[in-house]
Amino acid sequence: MKKTVITASILSVLAMHGAAIAAPMTSELKVQGKMAVPSCQVSISNSGVVDLGKISNSLIDANKGTALEVGSLSISADCEATTYLSFTAEDNREGSSAVSGSTYFGLGNVNGTGKLGYYQMKMYDAVTDSIGQSKLYSTPKGSTSFSATDGIILDKNNVMGWAKSSGVQSSGKRFHATIDLVPVLASSRDMNGPLTDSVKLDGSAVLNFTYGL
């Protein structure tokens, strides 16, 4: 009985050895996950339109701009997944601002190349669902550092977004902020002379959102 047992045991070792040689020398490790760009719905109150209504052309000063009524819009983004959210601003009336600078947006032309005025956009009251009251940042395109503030003036040269603190973006599924549009009517000198007809103020800007900085 004892012998038999020994033999069996050798066979068993041999069998094991053979199995080890025959098997492939690889081990597979899988890393799984689906890449999904989060999708956000951005909505702006009043379809993004601030209508100043009828404005008297008598407000046009000969040499200096005239401040018009400030209009307020509220902007929100609803995202499917938690994400960072940043945006850039583009002026569809580029070159028609009566004041040059990357925070001034145009209101369209009149009298040929005359400029009707300009507006600035001030963003504040930032909120995200993750941290509640949030800060904002605005940093030159391509920059990776920024400081967080309570309010920013939208800048065509910058990337802007919601911030937790300086250098830290604020992630979330829901983002909110208020944007004040601060319009100024150009002087009649900047308009290339007096208006002979009724004229429409025609400001248009686009905010392009991206997920990340």
Partner: protein, 214 residues
């Protein structure tokens, strides 16, 4: 082997980050619109009559000084415009030269006894309002607002209007309100160049001519 696998994971993670950074999201358009037009305004109270009645006694007339007939209840002047505008008015004394006091805030009440002067009156304005919000007023002889006033005495040959509170600039709005009242004075006897007959009437008249600027 392990090193290889780790490397792959790192590469994928970097890809994820970079894809996240570059992924274009939604866009939103912001529009700022308005119509620049020549405004039209309507004055709701075109005729303001301050009537001191027909029983002013000539015995009130003093030998030494003008005598006040008191203030008449104020009239609310309202102007409605169809566009956002500033609003001013020039003041003209239609009885210029008949006031018994000299100075641009004294308006004439007409002549008596030839070149005699019956008296004068003051026009005071208060409670300037623009679009239901309290505003300021002013009296200006040039193109600037020298001082913000909340109660003012109008002056002939000068312009008044609606200004912002706390800023020497014209207020902008569509609806403008102002309370207007007068205080009339009978001239002292010597200024009247004689007696006062039964049918003598106070005959003050002033015109406010509205415009949009200074």
């Amino acid at each position: 082997m392990m090193k290889n696998v780790l490397f792959k994971v790192t590469a994928i993670s970097a890809l994820l980050f970079s894809a996240g950074s570059l992924a274009a999201g939604p866009s939103a358009e912001i529009k700022l619109t308005g119509d620049l037009i020549a405004p039209k305004c309507a004055i709701n109270t075109p005729d303001m009559v301050f009537d001191y009645g027909d029983k002013i006694s000539p015995t009130l007339i003093s030998n030494t000084a003008p005598v006040s007939l008191g203030k008449v209840a104020s009239v609310s002047l309202t102007v409605n415009c169809d566009a956002q505008t500033s609003l001013t008015f020039g003041v003209t004394d239609n009885r210029l030269g008949t006031a018994s006091m000299s100075g641009s805030k004294y308006f004439g009440l007409g002549n008596i006894n030839g070149t005699g002067k019956l008296g004068h009156y003051l026009i005071s304005v208060s409670r300037p309002v623009v679009d239901q919000r309290a505003a300021a007023t002013f009296v200006s002889s040039g193109s600037t607002i020298p001082q913000l006033l909340y109660v003012a005495e109008l002056e002939h040959g000068k312009r008044s209007g609606w200004a912002k509170q706390g800023e020497r600039a014209l207020a902008i709005g569509k609806t403008f309100g102002l309370d207007v009242s007068t205080e009339a004075f009978l001239a002292k006897r010597g200024d009247m160049h004689g007696g006062v007959g039964d049918d003598t009437a106070l005959d003050g008249s002033a015109t406010l001519e509205f415009g949009f600027g200074l």
